[in-house]
Symmetry: C2
Subunit: 346 residues, 2 copies
C-alpha cells in the first residue's frame, strides 16, 4: 500500500567540529522540503541508522581513513531503509536497501535520495530479521571476522585478548576466538559487562579495566602470555597489553576509541619498543579495505548466530531526533550492545 510522502524530511548536519565530547550545537537537526525525484533516482525511507565509534572520527578533522564530514553537510552513517519511490530500474517500492559509507551514502536522515549504485538490496537469502541483519552484518560482523582472520590470525591454543569485549565488535571477536579454540580474555568497562562476557558469551575471563591493577589481573588471566590482541581502544589498556605480548604476537589495531574525544593527542604507548623486542606485528585495520571477504564474513557469522554459537545484544533508541544523544553513549560506554536508531517502524 502506497504511503503518502511528508512535505519535509529531517537531517542532522555537522555544524561545528566537536572539541572533546560532543556538545549541543555541534550537530543540528534540519527540516527541509522533500526534493522532487529526478530520473534515475530512488527515494528511501530510513528504518535504522547505525551509530558507531567511528562517528566521532568523521566529525573531527584529525587525520583519518576517509574525508572528514564537511561542515554544514549531513552527518555520515550506515542506514537500512525501504524504497518508497523509484525512478531507477531494478529498485521497486518496498525493497529493503542498505546505504553504507563504502558507497558514500547513508547519513543521519529519515529520508534519502540516491542515484544508481548508492544503495544495494538487502540480500533476501539472509535468515536473520532485518534489524539483526543490519545491526550485525553491516559493520560489526565483517569487522570482527575479517579483523581476526585477515589481520590478527589467531591459532587454536593461542591466547587472544580483546578490548571492548562487551561492545558490538568486541563481543563477536571474543566468541569467534572461542570457536577457533583460543584461550580468550576480554576487557570491558563494568562488572556487569564482564559477567555477560563470561557467563553468556563463554569467554575464559573478562577484566573490568576500571578497577585496580589491570596489569596483574591480566597476567593472571593470561598465564602463557598474549599471542593476539584485537584492540578497539588504544591508550593505557593497549600499553598494558603490549607489556605482556609474546614473541611474534599480532595486534589488530581496529580502533583507538580512548583518544577519539581527546582535544590534543595523548602520548603513545610507553611499551612501543616491545614491538621490536618481541618482534610483534601491529596492523591497522579498516573493514572497508576488505570487500573481497565481506560475503564470507556475513555467511559465517550468520551461520554461527543461527547455530547459537554467537550471541549479541542490540541497543535500540527510537527517533532520528535522538541520534546525537544516542551516539554520546558510545563514548561513555553506556550502550548495551550494538547501537541503532530506529527511525521508522519496519
Amino acid at each position: 500500500m502506497a504511503q503518502s510522502l511528508p512535505d519535509t524530511y529531517k537531517v542532522w548536519r555537522l555544524k561545528r567540529r566537536p572539541q572533546g565530547i560532543i556538545q549541543d550545537g555541534d550537530l543540528e537537526l534540519d527540516e527541509v522540503p522533500m526534493p522532487p525525484l529526478q530520473d534515475g533516482e530512488v527515494r528511501v525511507q530510513t528504518l535504522y541508522l547505525s551509530l558507531d565509534p567511528t562517528d566521532r572520527i568523521w566529525m573531527s578533522d584529525r587525520k583519518q581513513y576517509m574525508p572528514p564530514v564537511p561542515l554544514d553537510q549531513p552527518m555520515r552513517g550506515p542506514i537500512v531503509g525501504r524504497v518508497v519511490e523509484s525512478r531507477q530500474p531494478g529498485l521497486q517500492p518496498g525493497d529493503n536497501v542498505e546505504g553504507t559509507p563504502q558507497i558514500e551514502l547513508g547519513h543521519w536522515a529519515d529520508y534519502l535520495v540516491g542515484k544508481e549504485g548508492d544503495f544495494r538490496l538487502v540480500p533476501r537469502h539472509n535468515e536473520l530479521p532485518l534489524v539483526d541483519y543490519f545491526g550485525q552484518m553491516a559493520i560489526v560482523a565483517p569487522t570482527a571476522y575479517i579483523g581476526l582472520m585477515e589481520i590478527a590470525t589467531p591459532k587454536a591454543g593461542e591466547t587472544l585478548v580483546v578490548s571492548t569485549a562487551a561492545g558490538a565488535v568486541g563481543s563477536i571477536v571474543g566468541q569467534i576466538g572461542k570457536i577457533l579454540g583460543c584461550r580468550t580474555v576480554g576487557i570491558a568497562g563494568s562488572d556487569e559487562k564482564c559477567q555477560w562476557v563470561t557467563d553468556e558469551l563463554g569467554l575464559d575471563a573478562c577484566l573490568n579495566y576500571k578497577t585496580d591493577n589491570l596489569e596483574a589481573r591480566l597476567e593472571a588471566a593470561c598465564p602463557d602470555g598474549i599471542d593476539v590482541y584485537f584492540d578497539n581502544v588504544g591508550g593505557p589498556i593497549l600499553d598494558t597489553v603490549l607489556g605482556q605480548m609474546n614473541n611474534f604476537g599480532r595486534i589488530a589495531q581496529c580502533g583507538t576509541i580512548s583518544d577519539y574525544n581527546a582535544a590534543t593527542p595523548p602520548p603513545g604507548p610507553t611499551n612501543y619498543p616491545l614491538i621490536l623486542m618481541r618482534r610483534l606485528t601491529v596492523r591497522g585495520f579498516i573493514v572497508l579495505d576488505h570487500p573481497e571477504r565481506y560475503q564470507e564474513a556475513v555467511s559465517e557469522v550468520t551461520k554461527w548466530i543461527l547455530e547459537g554459537k554467537i550471541k549479541f545484544r542490540q541497543h535500540i533508541v527510537d527517533g532520528i531526533e535522538n541520534a546525537v544523544e544516542a551516539v554520546k553513549m558510545l563514548y561513555r560506554g553506556e550502550n548495551q550492545g550494538k547501537l541503532l536508531v530506529r527511525v521508522a517502524p519496519e
Copy 2:
C-alpha cells in the same frame, strides 16, 4: 708459525647495569689465567670485535629479545678470530672463525675457548677482506637486506625513508633502496653525514634531524608521502615519520636507539593512532630470527659491494682495552660507519 700463548687473557665483564649512559665501572676489564684446553675444545684469538647499538640493550635488564648479559659475566658480542689451538676435529690452527650471539658465544675478550658448534668457519669463498667480511656480513648486511626484503617490502617507485642513514645498517638499507628503484630519503645526525649519504651513497635526499623543522623538510623531500620506513631510532623521529606515512605503509622497526639510554621509558609516538587511520603495518625485526635468508643476504650484498653499487665505511678502534670507550660513541653518533675493535693484528 706457532705463536706462543700468553699466560693470561683479558675479558670485559658487566659489573653493574648502566643507568642512563654507560659509566666507568659499569664494565671492568679482567685479566685472568689462560685455562688449559679440554678435549673437544678450541681456542681462538680474537681479531675483531663488533660493537653494535644492541650492546646497550644487553647490558640492561629491560624486556628484550635475548636474556640480558648476567652481572659479572663476560660482555656478549660478535667476534671473528683465528684458531690458535684445537682439540676439536674440523678446526685447525690458522682457521678464521666467527663467534656470534646466535650461537651464544662471542664476547669482549682477546681469547675465547669454545666447544663444538660455538664457532663457525669464515666462508673461504667470500671475496671480501676479512675485516670487511666480518664488519659488513656478520650483522649489518643481513639486518639491512632481510629487514628490507622480508619486513619492509619496498617496491620500485615507492618512497623509502631510513633513519641512521649514515650508520652501519642504515647506509646499506638506503643503498639497497636505490638499487630497488625507490625514492630513498635518509635521516642522519650531522650535515657531514648527510653529505656522505647523498654525494657518496647516492640517496635522493638526507635530512639532518638536529636542525630545525624536520617535519617540513621531510614533507618537502617526500612529496608523495612515505610508503616504507626502516627505523633504527624510534622516539620523536619515528613520530614525525608516522605523521607522513601513506595508506598501507610498512614500518620495519629494527631499532629504537633513541631510548636505549633512557632511565625511564619515554612516551610512545603521539601519532600511534595513524597506524589505524592509514592501515599501516609495523613489524619488529631482529635479524637472528631469519637464519634461512642469511646466505642470500651475504651473497647479494657482497655482489653489490664488488660491483661498486654499495659503499661502506668502517670505524676501527685498536685494543680490547678501548672497547668501552668505543661503544659509547654509538650513542653519541660519533662513529663513522661500522664500529669494530681490532683486538689483534690479522
